[in-house]
Symmetry: C2
Subunit: 228 residues, 2 copies
Amino acid sequence: MKKNGKIEKVSEKTIGRLSLYRRAMDKLAKEGRDFAFSHEIAHMSGATPDQVRRDIMVLGYSGSPNRGYSVAELSKSIGEFLDDLDVQKVVLVGVGNLGRAILSYFTGKRPKLSIIACFDNDTEKTGRVINGCRCYPMSQLQDVINENSASIAIMAVPFSASQEVADRLTHSGIKGILNFTPVSIKVPHGIHVEDIDMTMALEKVAFYSRQKPQGQLLERRTNDKAGH
Amino acid sequence: MKKNGKIEKVSEKTIGRLSLYRRAMDKLAKEGRDFAFSHEIAHMSGATPDQVRRDIMVLGYSGSPNRGYSVAELSKSIGEFLDDLDVQKVVLVGVGNLGRAILSYFTGKRPKLSIIACFDNDTEKTGRVINGCRCYPMSQLQDVINENSASIAIMAVPFSASQEVADRLTHSGIKGILNFTPVSIKVPHGIHVEDIDMTMALEKVAFYSRQKPQGQLLERRTNDKAGH
DNA sequence: TCATATTCGTGACATCTTTCACATTGTGTA
DNA sequence: TACACAATGTGAAAGATGTCACGAATATGA
Ligand SMILES: NC(=O)c1ccc[n+]([C@@H]2O[C@H](COP(=O)([O-])OP(=O)(O)OC[C@H]3O[C@@H](n4cnc5c(N)ncnc54)[C@H](O)[C@@H]3O)[C@@H](O)[C@H]2O)c1
Ligand SMILES: NC(=O)c1ccc[n+]([C@@H]2O[C@H](COP(=O)([O-])OP(=O)(O)OC[C@H]3O[C@@H](n4cnc5c(N)ncnc54)[C@H](O)[C@@H]3O)[C@@H](O)[C@H]2O)c1
């Protein structure tokens, strides 16, 4: 996205952090702040000032020395980079415990992302409006997706249905999937899948939270070279 | 974890994938499989065979050429590496939509991780058993954590309470936090925090699922050196 | 028993990501 | 207007992670 024609590869990590920076900007905007320094953004986003500045480079937007970044302009720049021009339509498949939580959470969270329908194969759930979202039977998956040009799906079905649902979604024209099931789904080339694996995350926490008292040394910021 | 005394740094990514491999092993075990090849494990876990073999190296466990890895032994090896000897006790703070989904999901999922209590500041929820988990008022946070030697916490409170709850958890002796709130919490050195940020994940999917038709080139395996 | 096909283990290499360090440049001040 | 400051932008080094490639090991079947 550099000024010159050269196409620069933007790392996936950077994409993620830009989303975080924008959220930070929106928070600062609510507080009435007009400018923010890279170190403030870093602090709010769990990054480093260096990283923040480097990430922002890809936007083509520049802050000003000694004043930092304009909160409004940075948020706008990130939006121009991350968001589509149109609203992107999202569907959710699997309206169970997790699916309902997600529905209640995401509704209206981001102006450019709209959950327009949800699907389930349980007739108790279909035909109703759940957490503000109309629930359709699976038989209408393809039609609803096509009629609304939905391009994104959130999967919260039982793991046993995971691959089958993924197949139906991609056949229906879905271009990206946020996958909450603990299964590595196979999709055609060009479809983006983002996995959220809570069990893995919890096991990571468990691993790092034990053996700390006398365990191996982790990241440090001390200046005394490892305690002798 | 090399055979010689040298402590080898194990990457965080590897820790995560080992958790995935174990899940794959447990699945294969259920299917009655005795051995698995690195490429099978890779396929099930969304990794590459190289990665799988390299990750498994840190365990000190070896498969056998032409037969692969013993499903039972690999699972056991991963357990010895990842798990604590004792069961690690987990508490959950914030029994809202997401908190309840998590409770219903994690209960009994991993034998070495047990959610022993949950907490909320809503008197409608405290004093009851929710999804099989006793819910305490926040005033009892420290006592319950100490009495049970809980070392891990899952945070699913509103973002506004995020930092305050994190502070109370670390003061109570919690060593690791799985943070679902969209806030970068600050914790004392040595406490591990794992963030799950669904909004960021969804925005990443949204980014990669648009502009694909004629967008910039993503991962490739071409041999023509990018257009000059 | 020996040749063959297959898979593992791992050093070396390639790539991706972060951090360092410093010249650059607006900003506020005298 | 000129000066000092504080933060930015960015090459380059360092570090982390992923991939390649090949020797070693092992099951299989002639
Ligand atoms: N609940 C959590 O906190 C949590 C955490 C991590 C992962 N997950 C994963 O998320 C998924 C859903 O979890 P949950 O707790 O909401 O489960 P759940 O059983 O409460 O919900 C699953 C929903 O999917 C529906 N469903 C089943 N088969 C379907 C099909 N073929 N097509 C469409 N819908 C179908 C069911 O009717 C149900 O409404 C699971 O894969 C689970 O592993 C959940
Ligand atoms: N629901 C989702 O799918 C989802 C997705 C992503 C992130 N999150 C995040 O997870 C958190 C919880 O989301 P939710 O949808 O479950 O919200 P929720 O409002 O349904 O639940 C929040 C719970 O926390 C309790 N609570 C409030 N203040 C508290 C305090 N100071 N101490 C202890 N408990 C307190 C409330 O009584 C309530 O039970 C939020 O930070 C949200 O941003 C939720």
